[in-house]
C-alpha cells in the first residue's frame, strides 16, 4: 500500500482541501503534524512499563474502543526513540497474515516467527549459520511431514525459512485443508515453534543488543467468540515466547471478569473525556482542547464557525473517528451549499446522519438501557450493555474509575423517548 502523499498532511486552507484531511479510515503515520497529544495517555504508561521492565520480557495487552486511535498510538510507540533504543520492534497486523474467522494461536505464532525473520532480514540483519541450519532443519522436518499428508509448499534448496513461513501462512490463510494439516502438525510440537522464535529473538538480542518487541495489531478484530477462544484456550502459550509482546485485545475481553489476567497487564485507551461523570455541564477543558486541536491541526479556523466547532466537538463524544466523520460529512454538506465555511447546520446534518443510523439499530429495550446509562454514567450491567458498546451507542471514559455515557448524537432521540418510557428494572 502506498502511503498518503505529504501534501495531505498540510493544514487545509479551503473546504475542498479540508475534506481529505478527515479520512476516518487512515491511522496517522508517525510524526504526523495532525497528531494530538491526549491527557493521561496510557501509551505513555505502556512505554514506561516497557522501558522499566527487567528480567523476563514483558507481555502486555492493549485495547480501546473503535475509533479511539489505537493504531495511531501503536505506530507512535514503536517509533519512539527510547523504545527503539531498548527494543528491536517487529510490528504487524494479523489481518495481513491470517483468516480472522478461523484464528488460533498456531497462526499467531507462525506469523510472529515469519515477521521476526522477515523484518530483521529486510533491515539488513543476518542470522548466524548455525541458527539458520536449525531453522532449516525444522522447516525440512515440518515440510516432510506436511507433504506426506498432502499439503504442497514451495520448497527445495535456496528457499529460506522466511519464505517458508510466509508461504505456509498464505496457504494457512487461504486453504482450509492446509490450515488443518498445519494445526495438526504443529499443535503437538508448538514448543518447537516457540523455541525457534526464542532462538531468533536471542540472536537479534546478541547482534543488536536490543530485545525483540513484537506488537501485534488487529487481534481485537476477529469475531468475539474467536478471540475468546484464542485468549482463553491459548493464553499461556501466547505468553511463552521469550520476547516482549504487546497484543491487541477486544474491549469485551478487557471488561470480562473471566480474563482478569489480561486485565491486570492491559492498557486501555479511553475516549477523550469531554465532561465529568454525571456532570454534563461541567466540561473537561483539556478534553475539549484536544478535540479542538484535532480539528484545527487539520484545517484553518476560518473554515469553521465557532459554534459549529463546539457542536462538532460535543457530538463527537470524545472519539477521534467520530469527529472525523462529523467534520467530513459537514464539509460535504457545506460544499453542497456552496458555502466557504462549515456552519452549525452542516454539523447538524452530519450528526443527524449518525443519529439516523442508531435509529435503525436500536430497539425499545436498548433505549431503556441507554436512558439508564445517560442517567447514572455507570457500567452496572455489562452483560446487557456489550452490544451497545459494540456499536458505539455507549462510550467509555476513564478518570481513575471507568465510566460511560451515551453517544451525544443520541440525546435528541432519547429526549424524545424519555417521556414515553418506564425505567428499566435494575
Amino acid at each position: 500500500m502506498e502511503s498518503k502523499p505529504d501534501y495531505l498532511f498540510v493544514r487545509a486552507t479551503t473546504l475542498e482541501e479540508a475534506w481529505s484531511r478527515f479520512d476516518p479510515a487512515q491511522p496517522l503515520p508517525v510524526g504526523s503534524p495532525f497528531y494530538v497529544e491526549r491527557e493521561d495517555n496510557p501509551l505513555g504508561r505502556l512505554q514506561r512499563a516497557l522501558l522499566l521492565a527487567r528480567g523476563n520480557p514483558p507481555k502486555y495487552f492493549f485495547t480501546g474502543h473503535r475509533g479511539s486511535g489505537k493504531s495511531t498510538e501503536l505506530n507512535r510507540l514503536v517509533a519512539d526513540a527510547a523504545i527503539q533504543k531498548r527494543y528491536w520492534p517487529v510490528k504487524f497486523s494479523v489481518r495481513d497474515e491470517c483468516d480472522f474467522n478461523d484464528l488460533t494461536h498456531i497462526e499467531v505464532l507462525l506469523a510472529m516467527g515469519a515477521q521476526i525473520f522477515k523484518q530483521y532480514h529486510e533491515a539488513g540483519g543476518q542470522m548466524k549459520d548455525d541458527l539458520l541450519r536449525e531453522l532449516e532443519t525444522w522447516k525440512g522436518r515440518t515440510l516432510t511431514r506436511l507433504t506426506e499428508k498432502g499439503a504442497t509448499f514451495e520448497s527445495g534448496s535456496g528457499v529460506d525459512i522466511g519464505k517458508f513461513f510466509l508461504s505456509a501462512l498464505l496457504k494457512v490463510k487461504t486453504e482450509h485443508v492446509t490450515r488443518e494439516l498445519m494445526r495438526q502438525e504443529i499443535a503437538p510440537r508448538v514448543s518447537e515453534l516457540i523455541g525457534l522464535i526464542n532462538l531468533m529473538s536471542a540472536e537479534i538480542l546478541a547482534q543488536s543488543k536490543r530485545q525483540v518487541l513484537v506488537v501485534i495489531e488487529d487481534m481485537d478484530k476477529p469475531p468475539l467468540e474467536v478471540s475468546r477462544k484464542l485468549f482463553e484456550g491459548a493464553l499461556t502459550t501466547l505468553l511463552q515466547p521469550v520476547c516482549a509482546i504487546v497484543y491487541t485485545v477486544p474491549v469485551a475481553i478487557y471488561f470480562d471478569p473471566a480474563f482478569v489476567q489480561i486485565r491486570d497487564t492491559s492498557y486501555f485507551l479511553p475516549n477523550i473525556k469531554l465532561h465529568e461523570k454525571r456532570q454534563r455541564m461541567q466540561l473537561h477543558k483539556s478534553g475539549i482542547r484536544a478535540m479542538r486541536a484535532f480539528v484545527l491541526a487539520r484545517m484553518a479556523d476560518t473554515l469553521i464557525a465557532g459554534d459549529a466547532l463546539d457542536e462538532a466537538v460535543r457530538n463527537s463524544g470524545g472519539v477521534f473517528r467520530e469527529i472525523a466523520h462529523i467534520l467530513q460529512r459537514a464539509i460535504d454538506n457545506a460544499l453542497a451549499r456552496k458555502a466557504a465555511q462549515i456552519e452549525l447546520q452542516d454539523v447538524a446534518w452530519a450528526t443527524a446522519q449518525i443519529r439516523s443510523g442508531f435509529r435503525r439499530l436500536l430497539t425499545q429495550e436498548d433505549y431503556r438501557w441507554l436512558l439508564e446509562v445517560r442517567r447514572n454514567n455507570d457500567v452496572l450491567h455489562p452483560e446487557h450493555l456489550g452490544p451497545l458498546f459494540h456499536v458505539l451507542a455507549i462510550l467509555e471514559y476513564a478518570n481513575g474509575e471507568t465510566w460511560c455515557d451515551v453517544h451525544p448524537a443520541l440525546d435528541p432521540l432519547l429526549d424524545e423517548i424519555a417521556g414515553q418510557m418506564t425505567p428499566v428494572e435494575a
Partner: protein, 882 residues
C-alpha cells in the same frame, strides 16, 4: 426519517461532490444510499450517473441476486481480481442476497478500500443498513457518507415515474446487445417497480408497460417462459383497457417469443408466431403505424423464412414478399437500422431460396447485403455489421457463377471483416460460426497453395471449436468436427495416413452428436465422409478399410434418400460404387457389378443439366467399372467403357476441369489399349492419341504421378503397337518409361515404379538388350519381391544370359508367387521349364481372357520354345481372327 432532509438536488450535489473529491484526493470512499422506493432510487441513480458522466466518470455495477454464487459475496476479493479503473465508481445492489459473506468480507477486509482507493456506493434498503451496522461495525465505522432517498412518490407520480423507467433504454436492437449483467439489472429494476406499484385503475397503463418491457428483456435474455408470462399479462391488461395499439404490440411481442422458442415443435411454434403477427397487422396498418407495420412484416417474413414445414420455396417466397412490403415503409430516411435489418433478412431469404436460378438468387442476396451495409456500419451497429458481412460471405461462397476463386476470396474478405467485430468477448458463438465459415472458404478455395489453404481451414475450425462446445451447441460442434475431418481428408501435406486417421477421429466425434434422431441428414453426411476417409486410408488392411467404407456409405444411404436429398444420394451412390470398384476381397465380378449398379443409380439424379461435372465423374467411374469387369464379353464391356469416357469428355473439358479431362483421356486410352475387337493398330493409335492429349494437362508440375502413369501407359501402347517400325516403337516406349521413372520413384510410388521397371525390362528384352533388361527387372524385383511376374521375367532373362543358377532361384520364386489364374505368366514359366503341354494350356486360357496378348505372345521370348508347336500356331491364329 432523517432529522434534516435537504432537497434531492442538494443530496445529488453532495454525493457527486464527495465522489469527485475522493477521486481527486485519491482516497477510498464508502457511501450508503438508503432508499424505500425503487422508482425513487432509480430516478436518483439515473441523475447521479448522468452527472458522473459529465465528470468523465464511469459506473460499474455489482448486482447481488438470489442465485449469486457464494464466491462473489466477497466483494473486496472480487475487486482485487478485477480492480476498478481510477475513473470508475462501484455501485452495489441487492446486499441482502450476499449476507453474511458480504458482511464478513467488508468487516474484515475493509482496509482494502482505503489501500486501493476504491469508491463504493451501496444502494441499500433500511433492513440491509441495519444489518451492516450491527454485523459489520468496523466496516460501518469507515463509511464516509450516508444519504437517504426516502421519498415514495404519490401514486400518480409513482406510476408515471415507473412508466418512464420501464422504457428507459428499451429498444429491440439495444436490449439484444446489452451485456448479460446489464440486462439482468434492467430486469431486476422493472420487477421491483412492478412489485411496488399498487393494483388499480391508475396504474394499469404503467403495469402494462412494465410487463411489456419485461417480456422484451426476458426474450432477449432467452428466458422464454417468463417472457411469455409477461407478454400474456400485458395482453390481458391491454384487453382490460380496450387498448388496440397495446394489444397489437403484445401480439407482435408474443410472435417474437414463439418464433424463438427453443422447445416444442418448431413448426407449431412458428405457426403460432405467424398467427400473432397477422393479428398485429390488423391494427398495424401502413396508414396508422407505418414503422410498426413494417416491423411486423419483417417479423412475419422471419417466421416464414424459418418455417420447417410446408413447401420451402413457397415459404421463402412469402418471406420475400413480407420483407419487400416492409421495405416500402422501413426506408433509410425513416428508420435506417430497421431498413438495414430488413435488407439483411431479404438477403437471407434469397440466399436460401431453393427455386429459380441459383446464381440470380445469390446475386440478389448480395445486393441486399450490400444495401444493408450502407447503414449497418461498425459505428452504428457493430454486431449487425458483422452479421451482414458474414451473410455476404456466405452468398459469395455459394455463388455458382463467375470465377470460383475470386468469389471465395471475396467471401474470405467478408468473414475476416466480420471477425473484427464478432470477437470471442462480444459474441462467442457468432465468432465461432464465422470461423467455421472462413474455414469452409479456405477448404474450397481453388487458388493458391492447397496445403496452406487447408492448414488455414484447420486453424479456423479449431478456433471455432473453442467456443462451439458439445455443451453449448452440440449440433454446431458436430458440424465443426465434420468440417475439420474434411480438411484433414483433403490435406495434401504431411503424412497421409496420419491425416486420415485424424479425419476419422473427427467424423466419429461428430457422430456422437449428429445422430439420426437429432439430425438425420447431417448424420448421413458424416457417415459418407467417414466412408471417404476409410476408402483412402493407406494404412491397415485395404480390404477391411474398404469394407468399413462400404458400411458407412450404406448407413448414409438410409437417410440420404432420393426424396430427402437427391444430389447427396447420388454422390453417396458414386462413393459406394468407387469402394466396390477398389475392393480387393470377394468376387471381383460381383463387386464390379455392384459398382456399376451404384453408378447407374447415381446417374438418375446427377444429370448434365443439374450437375455437369458430377455427371462426368460418374460416367468416368462407370467407364472404369466396365473396363475392369472380369465377366461378360470383354469387347462389349470395353466398348461400353469407351462410350462412358467419351460421354464424360463432353463435360470434362480442359477449361472446366483440366485434370479430370486428362484423367478421362488417360482412361479412354487404356480402354482402347485393352480393346480386343477391331484393328489393333488403330486401337493403339487411338490410345496413343488419348495419352498424348492427357499429357497436355497431366504435366510434371500439375500432377507428377499422373504424368508418370500416363507416360507409362503411352510406353505400353508404343510397345504393343503392331504398325510402324518395331525398333522405333520400342525406342519410344523406352523413352516413355524412362520419363515416367523420373517421378515414379521407389519413395513416391514403389509399386508403380516396379511396374514401370518391369515394362522397361520387357522392352529391352524384346530389343535384345538383355543386360539392360536384366537391370530393369532386377530393380523391379528389389522393389517388389513378391510379384511372381517380375521374378519370372528376371529368371527368364538371366537364363538367356547364361546365369542359370541365379535364374533358377528367381524362376522357383516365381512358381511360388504367381497367382493360379495368371495364365499368361504361368504359360511363360512352363515354357521356360520345358513343360510344353502345361504351357500351352495356360496360354489358351490367357488368350481366351485377353486376346490382345496374342501379339505379344507371338513374339514373347519366354514362349520361344513353343513357337513351332502346332497348337501354339493355332492359338495365335485363332485369336488373330477373333
Amino acid at each position: 426519517m432523517a432529522d434534516i432532509l435537504p432537497s434531492v438536488e442538494r443530496r445529488l450535489d453532495l454525493l457527486t461532490g464527495v465522489l469527485e473529491r475522493a477521486q481527486r484526493y485519491a482516497t477510498g470512499l464508502v457511501v450508503f444510499v438508503i432508499y424505500r422506493a425503487e422508482s425513487a432510487r432509480a430516478s436518483f441513480e439515473n441523475t447521479l450517473v448522468n452527472r458522473l458522466q459529465t465528470l468523465h466518470q464511469r459506473v460499474r455495477r455489482v448486482w447481488y441476486q438470489p442465485d449469486s454464487p457464494p464466491a462473489s459475496h466477497d466483494l473486496l476479493g472480487q475487486l482485487l481480481k478485477s480492480p476498478p479503473a481510477d475513473d470508475e465508481v462501484i455501485f452495489v445492489y441487492g446486499l441482502h442476497h450476499a449476507f453474511p459473506g458480504l458482511l464478513n468480507a467488508l468487516n474484515y477486509r475493509r482496509e482494502l478500500i482505503s489501500d486501493h482507493r476504491w469508491r463504493l456506493v451501496f444502494w441499500a434498503l433500511d433492513d440491509e443498513v441495519t444489518r451492516v451496522m450491527r454485523d459489520a461495525p468496523d466496516f460501518w465505522a469507515f463509511v464516509n457518507q450516508v444519504l437517504e432517498v426516502p421519498e415514495v412518490p404519490p401514486p400518480a407520480e409513482h406510476a408515471q415515474l415507473a412508466g418512464a423507467l420501464a422504457w428507459a433504454g428499451f429498444g429491440d436492437s439495444e436490449i439484444r446487445n446489452l451485456a448479460p449483467a446489464e440486462r439482468q439489472a434492467r430486469i431486476a429494476l422493472r420487477e421491483r417497480l412492478l412489485d411496488e406499484l399498487p393494483e388499480g385503475e391508475d396504474t394499469l397503463s404503467t403495469r402494462a408497460d412494465l410487463h411489456y418491457t419485461l417480456a422484451g428483456l426476458y426474450w432477449a435474455d432467452r428466458q422464454f417462459a417468463k417472457a411469455e408470462a409477461h407478454a400474456q399479462a400485458a395482453l390481458a391488461l391491454a384487453e382490460q383497457m380496450n387498448d388496440a395499439e397495446l394489444r397489437a404490440r403484445m401480439m407482435n411481442m408474443l410472435g417474437l417469443i414463439y418464433a424463438d422458442l427453443p422447445t416444442g415443435d418448431r413448426g407449431a411454434n412458428l405457426a403460432r408466431a405467424i398467427a400473432c403477427y397477422e393479428e398485429a397487422l390488423r391494427y398495424y396498418t401502413p396508414e396508422a403505424a407505418p414503422l410498426d407495420y413494417a416491423g411486423t412484416q419483417n417479423n412475419l417474413g422471419n417466421a416464414y423464412r424459418n418455417l420447417p414445414t410446408g413447401d420451402r420455396g413457397a415459404n421463402l417466397a412469402r418471406a420475400i414478399a413480407c420483407y419487400e412490403e416492409a421495405l416500402r415503409y422501413d426506408t433509410p430516411e425513416a428508420a435506417p437500422l430497421d431498413y438495414a435489418r430488413t435488407q439483411n433478412n431479404l438477403g437471407n431469404a434469397y440466399r436460401n431460396l431453393p427455386t429459380g436460378d441459383r446464381g440470380a438468387n445469390l446475386a440478389r442476396a448480395i445486393a441486399c447485403y450490400e444495401e444493408a451495409l450502407r447503414y449497418y456500419t461498425p459505428e452504428a451497429a457493430p454486431l449487425a455489421y458483422a452479421m451482414t458481412q458474414n451473410n455476404l460471405g456466405l452468398a459469395y461462397a455459394d455463388l455458382p457463377t463467375g470465377d470460383r476463386g475470386a468469389n471465395l476470396a471475396r467471401a474470405i474478405a467478408c468473414y475476416e471483416e466480420a471477425l473484427r467485430y464478432y470477437t470471442p468477448e462480444a459474441a462467442p458463438l457468432e465468432y465461432a460460426r464465422t470461423q467455421n465459415n472462413l474455414g469452409n472458404a479456405y477448404l474450397q478455395l481453388p487458388t493458391g497453395d492447397r496445403g496452406a489453404n487447408l492448414a488455414r481451414a484447420i486453424a479456423c475450425y479449431e478456433e471455432a471449436l473453442r467456443y462451439y462446445t458439445p455443451e453449448a451447441a452440440p449440433l454446431e460442434y458436430a458440424t465443426l468436427q465434420n468440417n475439420l475431418g474434411n480438411a484433414y481428408l483433403q490435406l495434401p501435406t504431411g503424412d497421409r495416413g496420419a491425416n486420415l486417421a485424424r479425419a476419422i477421429a473427427c467424423y466419429e466425434e461428430a457422430l456422437r452428436y449428429d445422430t439420426p434422431e437429432a439430425a438425420p441428414l447431417a448424420y448421413a453426411m458424416t457417415q459418407n465422409n467417414l466412408g471417404l476417409a476409410y476408402a483412402d486410408l493407406p494404412t491397415g488392411d485395404r480390404g477391411a478399410n474398404l469394407a468399413r467404407a462400404i458400411a458407412c456409405y450404406e448407413e448414409a444411404l438410409r437417410y440420404y434418400t432420393p426424396e430427402a436429398a437427391p444430389l447427396e444420394y447420388a454422390r453417396t451412390q458414386n462413393n459406394l460404387g468407387n469402394a466396390y470398384l477398389q475392393l480387393p476381397t470377394g468376387d471381383r465380378g460381383a463387386n464390379l457389378a455392384r459398382a456399376i449398379a451404384c453408378y447407374e443409380e447415381a446417374l438418375r439424379y446427377y444429370t448434365p443439366e443439374a450437375a455437369p461435372l458430377e455427371y462426368a465423374t460418374l460416367q468416368n467411374n462407370l467407364g472404369n467399372a466396365y473396363r475392369n469387369l472380369p465377366t461378360g464379353d470383354r469387347g462389349a464391356n470395353l466398348a461400353r467403357a469407351i462410350a462412358c469416357y467419351e460421354e464424360a469428355l463432353r463435360y470434362y473439358t480442359p477449361e472446366a476441369a483440366p485434370l479430370d479431362y486428362a484423367m478421362t483421356q488417360n482412361n479412354l486410352g487404356n480402354a482402347y489399349a485393352d480393346l480386343p475387337t477391331g484393328d489393333r493398330g488403330a486401337n493403339l493409335a487411338r490410345a496413343i492419341a488419348c495419352y498424348e492429349e492427357a499429357l497436355r494437362y497431366y504435366t510434371p508440375e500439375a500432377a507428377p504421378l499422373a504424368y508418370a502413369m500416363t507416360q507409362n501407359n503411352l510406353g505400353l501402347a508404343y510397345a504393343d503397337l503392331p504398325t510402324g517400325d518395331r525398333g522405333a516403337n520400342l525406342a519410344r516406349a523406352i523413352a516413355c518409361y524412362e520419363e515416367s521413372l523420373r517421378f515414379r520413384t521407389p519413395e513416391a510410388a514403389p509399386l508403380d515404379y516396379a511396374r514401370t521397371q518391369y515394362n522397361l525390362g520387357t522392352a529391352y528384352y524384346e530389343l535384345g538388350q538383355l543386360e539392360q533388361a536384366a537391370d530393369a527387372y532386377r530393380r523391379a524385383v528389389e522393389t517388389v519381391a513378391d510379384q511372381g511376374s517380375y521374378q519370372m521375367a528376371l529368371g527368364s532373362v538371366l537364363r538367356k544370359l547364361g546365369r542359370d543358377d541365379e535364374a533358377a532361384i528367381h524362376l522357383a520364386r516365381a512358381r511360388e508367387l504367381l497367382p493360379p489364374d495368371d495364365h499368361y505368366d504361368r504359360a511363360c514359366l512352363e515354357a521356360i521349364a520345358g513343360n510344353t503341354d502345361a504351357a500351352l494350356a495356360h496360354l489358351e486360357k490367357a488368350l481366351a481372357w485377353d486376346a490382345t496378348s496374342r501379339d505379344w505372345a507371338a513374339r514373347d521370348p519366354d514362349l520361344e520354345s513353343l513357337r513351332d508347336h502346332p497348337r501354339f500356331k493355332a492359338l495365335i491364329a485363332r485369336n488373330a481372327s477373333c
